[in-house]
Symmetry: C2
Subunit: 211 residues, 2 copies
Amino acid sequence: MVKNDSEKQTEEKIFEAAMAVFEEKGFAAARMQEIADRAGINKSLLHYYFRSKDQLFEVVFNKLFEKMFSMVIGIFMSDKPFEEKIREYYCEHIRFFQQNPMLPIFIMSEISHNPERLKKRFGNIDYTKIRDSVMGFHAEEMSEYGIKKEDWVQFMITVVSLTIFPFAAKEIVKMFLDQTGYTKGFDDFMNERKVFASEFVINAIKHMNKK
Amino acid sequence: MVKNDSEKQTEEKIFEAAMAVFEEKGFAAARMQEIADRAGINKSLLHYYFRSKDQLFEVVFNKLFEKMFSMVIGIFMSDKPFEEKIREYYCEHIRFFQQNPMLPIFIMSEISHNPERLKKRFGNIDYTKIRDSVMGFHAEEMSEYGIKKEDWVQFMITVVSLTIFPFAAKEIVKMFLDQTGYTKGFDDFMNERKVFASEFVINAIKHMNKK
DNA sequence: AATGAGTTTAACCAACTGGTCAAAAATATA
DNA sequence: TATATTTTTGACCAGTTGGTTAAACTCATT
């Protein structure tokens, strides 16, 4: 099978349309016809390039999961000083999700409705290396800040929660902002959150051993 | 129309089955036939009691949203000392979601896929009273802990994030626990989180004004 | 120009899905 | 018991959905 330019173009068009529709509607509510329409091609062509809806979804899901995953664990892979790292992370992290606001809810929703997909994805990959590098790397800082080793995962989940949740619950937060008379919009709120979350986390860990 | 016992029984059976199916599958993937099966009745009977799928879903959604909402803002309505309040909140909050693990992702997913539902629900309700009582009530504590008034919403979102996110991303967290060699299960992790989250938040706010 | 492999399309299909309806069963009313 | 009312059911329907297929089109190679 010789892949020429036009094929790659078509496949990409389909893939991008599929990403958009799946992310927007979720698997169950997504329609193959709509994907075809947005890609500007015939519906049969979807099945020509990707055999079935499930198969197309799987490719899309893996791509988007990778996108999200690498962003989320990015912080724990950098080698800057801890506090600087935190500030920089929240800054980048929030900026990224401002451009991909539906990504968190899409990933979480699809996984919770079909956990097998996650297991299938991660079953054959060995994350020992990443884990060790991440955990080993931060060992000094952990003890320096008084975070016990067994609380390491708690801490990571905590850091991540502060940005992902507001995006996942974006509409609820927006309503809340309205109700409380916040005049600026969601984006401004999240921009302010870059600083708030950083300072909050840094304050918390600075005094963990001074209980 | 005289409502006798059997009617109420049937209606309730339908309602509970609908709650279960909708919460488990989400609106788009939920099937009226499955709801009927779980309720142990004929499918036509669904339409007899609740005209359409949309209507049945709306009732279920409102019920579940109320359930979640009252739990989430519960903390901000109590009159105990701040730190005690925080500890108690995380304890109850996590215990509650351990019994309703799908609730957060269901609410967030459905709202993000159909924000109009939220607006419809809250459009005609005046939350000024709640807002004022909550915000007015905590005014002293806010200043005492050095939380600026404009950061109040940031703080609330932060507190709530720490428990809701791990449940919404339950499967991902579980995978993460496996990967990092955490031998105990998700429930144990969340039990430990009751303490971790409390101390984390308390540490953070204790030193907010001592920057 | 003829060939042939890869690409795109229109027409079509079987299964599913929410929803209807008239009849039957159950229950209340007289 | 006879009648009216409400509850429950099975059969059915129209629209939708993922997927198939055979024919048509494109285009490089000969």
